[in-house]
Amino acid sequence: MKQKIITKLLTGMAGLGIALGAATAFATPESDRQELIKYYTTKYPNVKLEDYVYGALAFDADSKAQYDAIMEFPPYLGEIDKGRKMWETPLKSGKTYAQCMPNGGKDIAGLYPQFDEAKGKVVVLKNVVNDCRVANGEEPYEFDDAKTMGLLMSYLRTLSDGMLSNVKVEGPKATAAYEAGKKTFYSRAGQLNFACASCHVQNGGNRLRSELLSPVIGQTTHWPVFRGGERLTTLQDRYKGCFKSVRAIAAGAGSETLNNLEYFHSAMSNGLPMKASVFRK
């Protein structure tokens, strides 16, 4: 028997001026982003826009100080080094990743996710890595294997540190994928009946018990993270973790659902600088 999953779009979001559904002259990815920025900068006039890349840490000096202390000399540098060795090792064809990827892999992370017109779907940076691997005689990596794809990304993404997020949504198909991701973000899910937005739009900067919730602006700029300084966690790992937290069944890593979600989600951080492989609790 097929389970029917009921999703309820959040009410009360009307005040934010975010129009769900087909994009109109009044609702574009850029206008969605501006509405969220306006909402947050009004709610928290003392938090600088550029500090939103620190997520919840921008709202708690004690937490931010610990982040700064650990980022001074992160304990996981050895792990990133493993990623670097993977990056520098030629593939079976003899070519390196740098020779296969756009711009040699430097300053590209901010352009992803992208809508690939030829493939008719959103591609994320991990797709590009796997395309490289397959084109050069290797098996693709499992998206959520921390020891292979995770380590490689922990290094690759640092090659784009400082780059401003610049996700493009152009054309009807791309827009449809963006809207699908937006719908996922704003739809209630799971036994706890929370949407991503319940915590990360309505309650960014507030506490849920002892947890300070990060606002959606800036959220996608700082991945992967090393939890507790050692557990490599990617953005889609975190999506799955969040769905599990609200007791929903999460879609798989690299699925259309999560890639579309990442597409919408990343567009909301456009203009903010990326920084990979950072410390989180």
Partner: protein, 104 residues
């Protein structure tokens, strides 16, 4: 063979600021393996020494209470840029590691 230690040593005024990141599991010996229920044996750095131009400046004892991949920061007055810092550690199994850096 343990991964190499990383040492950053710079002059800050007339004080050499030394930061060391060691690579070590720092297993306390009180954790249990989740699958077998057995205690994971203790394996942690017990001693760290540091010297500048051959003169010892620091001699430390550590326990499993130091975080994994130990971080150590200390300051020394007297050295100057170009001097050599050497750091050594020994763990409870007798394994050792050494690294050196030039004060920048």
């Amino acid at each position: 063979m343990a991964e190499p230690m990383r040492i950053r040593a710079t002059m800050a005024g007339d004080v050499a600021d030394v930061k060391v990141l060691m690579n070590h599991i720092m297993e306390t010996g009180v954790r249990k393996d989740s699958k077998t229920g057995q205690l994971i044996p203790a394996h942690y750095i017990t001693e760290v020494t540091a010297s500048v131009n051959g003169t010892k400046v620091l001699d430390a004892g550590m326990s499993g209470g130091i975080s994994k991949n130990p971080y150590l920061g200390f300051k020394v007055k007297g050295p100057k840029a170009g001097d050599k810092v050497v750091v050594n550690w020994t763990d409870n199994k007798g394994d050792k590691n050494t690294a050196e850096a030039t004060i920048g």
